[in-house]
């Protein structure tokens, strides 16, 4: 690759998932991120109880992300051929884990409504 610009990168992702699915996923990610920031700012605290459940969800997010990428690319675990492949695989897993953690945390916070006092900080 000669020049890797932000525009090229967007084009690559559009190609990967199809334009509709890619932008739908971007929209979902942006909405969840904004909602997460919203509940953080609203509550002025991070609730460790909610975070615990979010952490429990992380392994599921990691596995789901890896399986999704393998499904999209017609490949599997047997195709891991070198260190960089392991790093990419772990990167995908981490992204999936963090993504689901944010999702689970935000969903709980939105469902429970505003926390009056930071008592929820006790874990």
């Amino acid at each position: 690759m000669k020049e890797l610009t932000f525009e090229t990168l967007l084009a690559v992702f559009e190609e990967m998932f199809g334009r509709g699915l890619f932008w739908a996923m971007v929209a979902v990610a942006v909405v969840i991120t904004l909602a997460y920031l919203y509940v953080l700012i609203r509550d002025r605290a991070m609730s460790m109880r909610k975070f615990l459940l979010a952490q429990l969800a992380m392994p599921f997010g990691a596995v789901a992300a890896v399986l999704f990428v393998q499904w999209i690319t017609s490949s599997g675990f047997r195709d891991i051929g070198g260190p960089i492949d392991v790093i990419v695989l772990l990167g995908v897993a981490v992204a999936g884990a963090v993504g689901i953690a944010i999702l689970v945390y935000t969903a709980q916070a939105l469902m429970q409504g505003r926390q009056g006092t930071p008592v929820s900080g006790r874990s």
Partner: protein, 439 residues
């Protein structure tokens, strides 16, 4: 304890972060653009494929007032790197098909005809309907011709039946080849893979398809009843020695038999025999599945013009171009781009991506009365698929040096998943961006 486990988030911190991110996006997203050159130059580009379209898109952003005319009679644009994926049943035939006009800038004119005559002395091209198109600069980007008549007894309507495949012939033929390969890897028998003795586009493709056939036979549990033979045209398996050695090891590992100095000249579909020219005379090899790849030459209009080399590739007719500048050696206002260029390497889409900025540089410099400085070093890239899910990202130059894009990160001679990911998902997008002049 409860105090220390609380992470405080404030509006100010959030806004600071968002502002920083926005500033980063703004600075990294702004393209650097040279001033446009005012000119009335008439530029004719023969061929509106990967090279022609990419160059036209770049020239319209560099030149103000130039008349850019593309001449190409084919309505379809083919994403040729996709043919292997189609022939492996991973993508439909439509994956590689778009329209020629989808990629052309509106500032350029397309004459939807093939060229019939190139007259570099008179600085004009004559189209099939007899229209004379004069030019100040000519870029020959016609691609190459597959000489199917060079295989006696073969015709394209045989593809897909009786174990005959032809991945190079086009998206539909690649799909038919998949049907034949799918059937073969169920039933078993002798698979035969060939390559021509001429220069060819993507010299890795014949190898990829050999590996893929092996992979499908293994995945179906039928490798035991499949014999695979690769017939090389010379004593090597690939033009770059270090890659050739690696392929030799992989073929040994996959139990692929190799015969050297075998150039296919004829096929007998009735007896399922392929005839090869060898140093010891003609030899017949049996097949139950074969991927026919014919000799490859410059299009007739180029071969019949004064443009080809007189002392090299006489049977193939590639344009006599300088290796580094791609400028014609005898006609200073003529350039060659892509497969048709008579340079020692570079018949791949990735090479086109490296060649386009070179032609652009020398052409625009000449318009300004200056000398161009860009040089093409023979860069050629081949994501050499070794099975579904793995590939080697082989990149090299004129000197047969490996020139990896990601040294120390993506090893060029290792079968890697990441190289497969790039071939499978990132390559077409990069290609499309190149067609639009953006990569």
């Amino acid at each position: 304890m409860s105090e220390s486990t609380q992470l405080r988030a404030s509006r100010r911190a959030f806004l600071g972060l968002a502002g920083g991110a926005a500033a980063f996006m703004a600075t990294s997203g702004a393209p650097v653009q040279a001033a446009r050159i005012k000119t009335g130059a008439r530029i004719v580009i023969l061929g509106a494929g990967a090279g022609g379209a990419a160059l036209a898109n770049r020239l319209v952003t560099r030149l103000d007032g130039a008349q850019i005319t593309l001449i190409d009679g084919r309505p379809e644009h083919w994403y040729q790197p996709g043919f292997t994926l189609i022939a492996a049943g991973l993508k439909p035939a439509g994956y590689s098909v778009s329209g020629t006009t989808d990629w052309l800038p509106k500032e350029a004119t397309l004459i939807a005809e093939y060229a019939a005559e190139i007259d570099p002395e008179g600085n004009r091209v004559v189209t099939a309907s007899g229209q004379a198109v004069p030019y100040d600069f000519l870029v020959v980007a016609t691609g190459l011709t597959l000489d199917w008549a060079g295989i006696q007894g073969f015709s394209l309507d045989m593809v897909g039946q009786n174990g005959i495949g032809a991945v190079y012939a086009g998206p539909d033929y690649a799909a038919k080849t998949w049907a034949a390969m799918d059937r073969f890897t169920e039933e078993g028998g002798q698979a035969l893979f060939t390559r021509p003795a001429t220069e060819m586009k993507c010299a890795g493709a014949p190898l990829k398809y050999t590996f893929l056939t092996d992979d499908f036979a293994r995945k179906k549990g039928n490798r035991g009843k499949v014999e695979i033979t690769y017939a090389a045209n010379n004593k090597a398996l690939f033009g770059v020695p270090i890659v050739s050695e690696k392929v030799r090891m992989l073929f040994a590992d996959r139990d692929v038999a190799v015969v050297h100095d075998h150039v296919m000249k004829a096929i007998d579909p009735g007896r399922k025999l392929a005839t090869f020219t060898t140093p010891d005379g003609d030899k017949d090899l049996p097949y139950d599945f074969i991927n026919v790849i014919p000799p490859q030459r410059a299009p007739e209009v180029v071969r019949n013009s004064p443009l080809p080399w007189a002392d090299k590739w006489q049977d193939q007719g590639w344009v006599e171009a300088d290796m580094k500048t791609l400028r014609h050696v005898r006609y200073a206002n003529v350039f060659a781009l892509g497969d048709v260029a008579g340079v020692p390497k570079g018949k791949t889409a990735a090479s086109v991506k490296w060649q386009v900025p070179v032609v652009e540089d020398h052409l625009t410099a000449q318009i300004e009365g200056k000398d161009g400085t860009a040089a093409y070093d023979g860069y050629t890239s081949c994501p050499l698929i070794t099975r579904v899910g793995r590939a080697m990202l082989v990149e090299f130059d004129y000197n047969n040096n490996l020139v990896p894009s990601f040294p120390g990160i993506i090893a060029p001679l290792e079968e890697l998943w990441i190289s497969w990911l790039m071939k499978e998902v990132a390559l077409k997008a990069t290609y499309n961006a190149m067609l639009r002049g953006k990569a």
